[in-house]
């Protein structure tokens, strides 16, 4: 990883909806984050290993590997324990337990406003820098 990239706050977005992912990427980029996008869980895992994001925002309903599986895999890696995982879902409330059980730290419901998504990320980075 380049020095520049290593210094930045890195966010990985995993979502099969290309436009949604692209829009979010542009938004976060606007606020100074380095953002990569994957469209499937498998792609996401590969990117996660390479890009080493601090924060991962993942959709749940994806073809192939679901967001739950993806989160479990991320958590199972050594580095995974320190990462901040956000689930972005369009579904109902009963998923909360499952989301947390799979390893996510937080859950946001689509559509989320910029504040909705920036807040937890900012807070995470703020508290991380304090440590």
């Amino acid at each position: 990883m380049s020095e520049q990239l290593a210094a930045q706050k890195r966010v990985l977005i995993v979502d099969d909806n290309r436009e949604a992912a692209e829009m979010l990427q542009m938004l976060l980029d606007l606020h100074g984050y380095a953002v990569e996008v994957a469209h499937t869980g498998e792609e996401g895992l590969a990117l996660n290993a390479r890009f080493c994001p601090h924060v991962v925002c993942s959709d749940i309903n994806m073809p192939g590997m679901s967001g739950y599986e993806f989160a479990q895999q991320v958590r199972s890696a050594r580095a995974g324990r320190d990462q901040f995982l956000i689930a972005i879902t369009g579904g109902g409330d009963d998923m909360m337990e499952r989301i947390l059980g799979a390893g996510f730290d937080q859950r946001l419901t689509k559509p989320c406003s910029l504040d909705d998504i920036l807040a937890p990320i900012d807070i995470f980075f703020a508290s991380a820098s304090r440590q």
Partner: protein
């Protein structure tokens, strides 16, 4: 001892006669008896007395009154009990007349007749009759007697008896009355009534049993349940219930199914009730069986409907969850894009964001449209407008709308349709929707580069269109429900491309609204599927036999045509034909309207019937020609007769052409094509 005397005299009489006869028979034979006549005779006398005593006891305890009547002397001797039956004091002098006075007037004739007959023949008589006693009470009695004739053949004496049978008669008549009541109740009740005795034998069975089993009540009387022709299990249940009621004096209820004489299974509920004798013991068991078959069917139907409604409700709830999810999809990028526009000054970024919003909004709009369709489908409010439309036209439009999708996946399309048009009476837009849907599904559920086919064929009454694919296929179970609303067949590995799963349900509704049928078939998962739509052909008669339906004949350049004919059917048919060819038609049914429309509408040509109600077609033409717009307007005259003078007229009025009705299709195609060419070449 008067009784004894009377009876003994009666018996002695008989004995005496007997002995006398015997004596006469023996003549003066030396007596064989021993000389000790007094001792033996004395023994015999004692013997007789003892026996008479015994008889007396028997008769007394039986409640029998006895009499001896000498009709010639008119003397009657009655026993004590006889007096008791008549309610008179013992030893009161009685005559036959007095006896007759007490006989019930309605029975007197029969009693006289019985006695007279016996008296004539020296015979026995026995008759039941009523007595009307002094206290105005009525007694039922049975009178009997034996008449003895003298050697002149005249009645010499009558020995007889009388018995009071009032109680027995009343009991019997009460019981008969009960039976009669039961019988009339049984006749009119729809339920089947039976009565069983302590031996489980049937005493009564209502006539309705015959309608059920084909056997009359008589078949059942005297039989036990196991002889009725029921299954042995059922007979055992009947027997057990009846015995329970007999033994425990309680009401029992049980149900069973039994096939009737037509082999239809019927469902019964039987109640068994104890019927008590005067002492309060269970004497018989009444059974009342109600046919609950219809109620049972209704109940079953209600249960099934309930279950089916619950299933539908569950599906709908799952569906609503999916819907919410689907709707949120486009909202996310729209929201992000909006915020990008707010925060970014980069033109490229903002353009991109704007594009995204437009695209996603379109998608949302489609979803909402689908949702509206769902509402219409659910409440059965889909409407179709019927017109004459060719299958070829419909398929062509459907292919056009789905081609981008197929091309995007590199899927090869094959289309096999006959050359001659196959006409349907239906809503063109909706029919196009049907086949677009089927083609879209075929594409969605097939891999890239797969082959997809659509073919149309017909027989005398129907048109068949089949859409074939080599995609993921259908399982046998899903076949039954894929046309249901809210059902989406998910297969792993296939990207769920969104949408609301209403496609096939819409297809089915639309096809059925057109009087047709759609079916799905597949050889299994991964083995492709094909959907066949059958639609009734338009019965339009000979009007459109040879209209070519290939795209070349379909108007490349649609015209707006004015059709004028006071015959509404004629005008409508011509208008329809023109529309089928791809033109727009506007109709007028009289001359003045024709002139007005020609002025107001941007028409490219007009067909004018010459015989109009207000002003003639020729007049209309002249007026149109008088306007700047109408000077060069192609006008075609339609007449019923190709008379020469008409041709002259039409030429004078500067009609471009004069054709005779009915207009041949070939002429129509030619004329419109010529007009189109002329117009477009200008």
């Amino acid at each position: 001892m008067e009784w004894l005397a009377l009876t003994s005299s009666a018996i002695a009489f008989g004995l005496g006669i007997g002995m006398g006869l015997a004596a006469r028979g023996r003549r003066q034979a030396p007596s064989a008896e021993p000389a000790d006549t007094n001792g033996v005779a004395g023994e015999r006398r004692t013997d007789i007395v003892t026996r008479l005593d015994e008889y007396k006891h028997v008769i007394e305890s039986a409640g029998i009154g006895t009499f001896f009547w000498d009709p010639q002397a008119d003397t009657i001797r009655w026993s004590h009990h006889h007096y008791a039956i008549f309610g008179w004091p013992t030893d009161m002098p009685v005559t036959h007349a007095m006896f007759r006075q007490r006989v019930h007037p309605d029975d007197l004739a029969a009693v006289d007749a019985a006695i007279d007959a016996a008296m004539r023949k020296g015979d026995d008589y026995a008759i039941r009759f009523r007595l009307c006693l002094d206290d105005a009470s009525v007694r039922y009695v049975r009178g009997s007697g034996r008449v003895r004739l003298d050697d002149k053949g005249q009645p010499a004496g009558v020995n007889g008896a009388i018995v009071d049978i009032t109680e027995a008669t009343q009991a019997r008549s009460a019981s008969r009355q009960r039976e009669l009541d039961l019988a009339s109740v049984a006749l009119y009740l729809p339920d089947i009534i039976g009565r069983f005795d302590r031996d489980l034998r049937c005493l009564f069975m209502s006539p309705r049993i015959e309608a059920l089993t084909g056997r009359p009540p008589g078949f059942y009387i005297g039989k036990r349940p196991n002889e009725f022709g029921m299954s042995s299990n059922l007979a055992a249940r009947w027997a057990a219930v009846i015995e329970d009621v007999l033994r425990n004096n309680r009401v029992r209820e049980f149900d069973f199914t039994q096939a009737d004489r037509h082999q239809v299974e019927r469902f019964f509920i039987t109640r068994a009730l104890p019927s008590l004798d005067p002492e309060g013991q269970v004497e018989t068991v009444l059974t009342i069986s109600s046919d609950h078959t219809e109620r049972e069917h209704d109940a079953r139907q209600v249960r099934e409907d309930g279950a089916s409604l619950q299933r539908a409700d569950r599906r709908k709830n799952e569906y609503l969850a999916t819907l919410a999810h689907e709707l949120r999809g486009p909202l996310a990028p729209i929201s992000s894009a909006a915020q990008l526009i707010r925060f970014s000054t980069d033109r490229a970024v903002r353009n991109k964001a704007r594009e995204v919003i437009e695209r996603q909004v379109r998608q949302l709009a489609e979803l909402v449209d689908d949702l509206m369709e769902v509402g219409r489908i659910s409440s059965g409010k889909l409407e179709i407008n019927r017109q004459l439309v060719s299958v070829q036209h419909v398929i062509e439009q459907a292919l056009e709308s789905t081609r981008p999708l197929l091309d995007g996946k590199g899927q090869r399309l094959s289309c096999v349709v006959p050359d001659t048009p196959l006409w349907l009476n239906g809503d063109a837009m909706r029919l196009v929707q049907v086949f677009s849907n089927l083609l879209t599904n075929a594409s969605k559920y097939s891999p890239p580069l797969a082959a997809i086919g659509i073919e149309a064929s017909a027989d005398d009454t129907a048109v068949m269109i089949t859409v074939r694919d080599e995609g993921i296929g259908l399982s046998a179970e899903s076949m039954a429900t894929i046309f249901d609303l809210f059902v989406q067949v998910h297969a792993t590995g296939v990207e769920a491309q969104g949408g609301l799963g209403i496609g096939l349900s819409l297809v089915r509704q639309l096809v059925e609204l057109h009087g047709g049928k759609v079916t799905a078939a597949s050889n299994g998962i991964g083995k492709g599927s094909h959907f066949t739509v059958v639609l009734p052909r338009a019965q339009h008669g000979a009007a459109l036999p040879s209209l070519p339906a290939s795209p070349a004949a379909l108007a490349a350049a649609p015209l707006k045509v004015l059709v004028v004919d006071d015959n509404v059917d004629g005008a409508t048919t011509l208008a329809l034909l023109l529309e089928t060819l791809g033109h727009t038609a506007v109709s007028a049914f009289n001359g003045l309207d024709a002139v007005r429309l020609a002025a107001e509408e941007p028409i490219d040509m007009a067909f004018l019937d010459l015989g109009l109600p207000d002003i003639s077609g020729v007049q209309v033409a002249l007026q149109i020609r008088g306007t700047p717009k109408g000077r060069k307007l192609p006008l075609i005259a339609l007449t019923g007769l190709g008379r020469d003078e008409d041709r002259y007229l039409t030429r004078a009025a500067q009609f471009n052409e004069h054709v005779t009705k009915p207009l041949r299709i070939d002429d129509l195609v030619r004329i419109t094509r010529e007009v189109a060419e002329r117009r477009d070449s200008r």
